[in-house]
């Protein structure tokens, strides 16, 4: 999956898409229709002397008016949020070192400077980092599996009728035999964690569509009396997935990617690096055999970087997703309670799984 494909629905296109813009008039027409109906009820109840119904209709008219205000405010806020420059060379996050080189707008990949594009880009590059780590581990394990086991044997020559075939033999294992088995488990762990990252990437790629659809449903549903609470829940979910989640991804994965980039300033985390690393290991093993001293010091180029790289990626695979999901979930729960019906998508997801 290429980043071009993921970024096909950029914010610029998204703001022009019919399904994003057409629901505003629909919501306004619905609001006017509901207000007209409520006004009619209010009028009838006044004639019929039913004060309670009249008061109810009055309150509902206010609520619908409030919904219209909410839509207008929402339009303004969305316009502002999507117009903020997050990822150009002078962007908000670029200036605080939260944007890796590949995601700086105007570069090879980033075309827009908005939150959603940056979030997708961050996640995409993080996943590439996971794949790189996977490659490193794979090639290292493969290389270790080729380290030979040496059998040393000596025996005296045999003579017919004489004393012979007296000898000593031993086996020398330069790398632990269990490493081949371990590497399988290791790759399994990375593959499993990578699935979680890939799900996050797809969720982010779909976040604009989800945002648009959920907000449309939410605002329209919120205008009608019966579906008001449901509409509130949809709005909360829409903002959670469309704004809060990408924001957190930009901060957390932005930091992780920038950290990886700092570890490898040239960005050359590739097979050449693996070869260098493996070359170092091989040199060590050969030196160990030649000198017979395990304790000899042979430097492996880039080992500390490998360690640091693995640390950053591990953090992005374990800690960061938990933190992000927690905060988005708390937002959705509390905001949905405030504007409508309580919705707890993390618990729902857990129960489903």
């Amino acid at each position: 999956m290429t980043i071009d494909y993921l970024l096909a629905l950029t914010t610029a296109e998204f703001l022009k898409l019919p399904f994003y813009t057409t629901w505003f008039p629909i919501a306004l027409i619905a609001a006017i229709a509901v207000i007209a109906l409520l006004a009619f009820i209010m009028m009838i109840s006044a004639f019929a002397g039913r004060d309670r119904v009249r008061v109810w209709a009055k309150v509902k008219i206010y609520e619908v008016l409030l919904s219209i205000v909410l839509i207008i405010v929402f339009l303004v806020v969305v316009g502002i949020v999507f117009s903020i420059d997050f990822s150009s060379s002078t962007g908000v996050f670029t200036s605080i070192n939260l944007v890796a080189n590949g995601c700086v707008a105007g570069g090879s990949t980033g075309t827009s400077t908005d939150l959603s594009t940056l979030a997708v880009c961050d996640m995409y590059y993080f996943n590439k980092n996971v794949q790189t780590l996977n490659s490193l581990v794979y090639y290292l394990a493969l290389r270790f599996s080729f380290v030979p086991e040496i059998k040393v044997e000596y025996s005296t020559p045999g003579f017919n009728g004489g004393l012979g075939n007296l000898g000593v033999e031993t086996k020398i294992s330069l790398s632990p035999a269990a490493l081949d088995v371990f590497s399988g488990y290791l790759l399994d762990a990375l593959y499993t964690a990578f699935v979680v990252s890939q799900v996050q990437l797809l969720l982010l790629a779909a976040s604009l569509v989800l945002f648009s659809v959920l907000m449309a449903i939410g605002f329209i549903a919120r205008i009608f009396v019966i579906t008001r609470t449901f509409g509130g829940a949809m709005i909360a979910l829409g903002i959670g997935l469309g704004i809060i989640y990408p924001l957190l991804v930009c901060i957390t994965y932005g930091y992780v990617n920038y950290g990886v980039q700092s570890t490898f300033p040239s960005g050359a985390i590739d097979i050449a690096y693996v070869s260098t690393l493996i070359g170092g290991v091989t040199s060590f093993l050969l030196a160990a055999i030649a000198q017979g001293i395990i304790g000899s010091y042979i430097s492996i180029p880039g080992f500390v970087q490998f360690f640091q790289f693995a640390g950053y990626v591990g953090m992005g695979l374990v800690l960061v997703p938990i933190l992000n999901v927690l905060i988005v979930d708390v937002f959705v729960i509390d905001f949905s309670q405030a504007v409508g019906e309580r919705i707890d998508f993390a618990s729902l997801l857990t129960r489903m799984i």
């Binding site: 206010y62 394990a141 012979g164 000593v168 762990a189 950290g259 905060i327």
Partner: protein
């Protein structure tokens, strides 16, 4: 063996190759110096960035206040009680936001002061409780604390544990070679094959067991080091993003969550674990025949140690060596246990604090009891 251990096994093998014979791992401590900057918390937040964020937040709060004023006027004018009460509540929240923004505008240095105060409070407690008088290094800023913790985790935790693993690897290498050694006495292809060191299995088993435990220790400290690095660099951004998000009524729960995490994990968590770590870390004295002061020795030295070991076992002193080994190993693991308890206590208190702060800051669903169960 668990998958996590296997990852570590691979890393350790690399470390083994890289650092055997060296007095310390080459440059591993560079992770702390390169990831934790003394200039400011994330190495990039400048005063102009902070001023911009604070200014934007203040503008948002003022805009919200003006809107609330209009809504209150409408509510009062048309007699909508719910609207009036809503605006009153929101006004209080906005005032609270202004106070928060004011605190942040006062500078993050104050947070550093708060952190050092909390940490030194804990240290003074340790000093007072110690059987022998001790004076621990004082913390004067957040950089001091985080840098110190990271250095302890990497320099004294990971490094020392890896050194033990390296030496145990060397020993296992030698023991396995000896175990596989066969002496054949087969004149005319008839006779016996003698395996004199096959009885080394129990010793190899003990070493393997110890190595697994040390690998677990390395996992723990690598995780803690990167947790500290992540908190130090990312959570200050949570502070500013939290204030910004809290300014808008719509995003208040998210802002409240971010602020709660910042206060509980940036200020309190490291201060809580610091006394545990500084008091007990670096006490690894284990591994068969390993000197606690210089665990790294050459193969030849190790062989001489092994000869001593066999002499000891042959002369009936084997039991003494094992008793010494068990004592050293138990002491090491006890140290780790104490540190682990410190981390668990720190996490529990911080989570509880997150819950309390969430209630205060507009994110009442931030319950510590259910947080992790939702996502794990």
């Amino acid at each position: 063996m668990m998958p996590e251990k296997k990852i570590i096994v691979l890393i350790v093998l690399l470390l083994l190759a890289n650092s055997a014979g060296a007095s310390a791992l080459p440059g591993l401590g560079a992770i702390c110096t390169s990831s934790i900057s003394s200039t400011n918390p994330n190495g990039s937040l400048t005063s102009s960035n902070i001023t911009s964020l604070v200014t934007v937040s203040m503008f948002i709060v003022l805009a919200v206040l003006i809107t609330l004023g209009i809504l209150y006027a409408i509510g009062a004018g048309f007699g909508i009680e719910s609207l009036s009460s809503f605006t009153k509540t929101e006004v209080i929240e906005s005032v609270f936001n202004i106070i928060l923004i004011g605190l942040i505008a006062a500078g993050l240095a104050n947070v550093g002061g708060l952190i050092s105060f909390v940490t030194n409070l804990g240290l003074s407690g340790f000093e007072a409780a110690s059987a022998t008088p001790v004076t621990l290094p004082q913390i004067s800023s957040s950089y001091d604390l985080y840098s110190s913790l990271c250095t302890i985790f990497i320099g004294k935790g990971v490094d020392v544990a890896i050194n033990n693993v390296i030496f145990m690897s060397t020993q296992l290498f030698i023991l396995n070679v000896l175990k596989e050694t066969k002496v054949s006495l087969m004149p005319n292809n008839v006779g016996i094959i003698f395996e004199p060191f096959l009885g080394l299995d129990p010793v190899i088993s003990v070493l393997n067991n110890q190595m697994n435990i040390f690998l677990g220790i390395i996992t723990l400290y690598v995780g803690l080091a990167f947790l500290i690095i992540f908190i130090y660099n990312v959570f200050p951004i949570f502070l500013y993003a939290g204030v910004l998000l809290r300014s808008l009524p719509w995003t208040r729960p998210a802002g409240g969550s971010l602020l709660a995490f910042f206060i509980a994990f940036y200020i309190i968590f490291p201060a809580l674990i610091y006394p545990f770590e500084i008091n007990s870390i670096g006490g690894f004295t284990s591994s068969l025949l390993v000197s606690s002061t210089n665990p790294l020795v050459s193969l030849f030295s190790s062989i001489s140690s092994l000869i001593s070991f066999f002499v000891a076992s042959a002369t009936g002193l084997f039991g003494t060596a094992m008793v010494i080994e068990m004592g050293g190993f138990a002491a090491s693991i006890a140290n780790i246990g104490l540190q682990f308890i410190g981390v668990v206590i720190g996490l529990l208190i911080s989570y509880d604090l997150v819950e309390a702060l969430g209630d205060l800051l507009g994110a009442p669903s931030l319950h510590s009891r259910t947080l992790l169960s939702k996502v794990i």
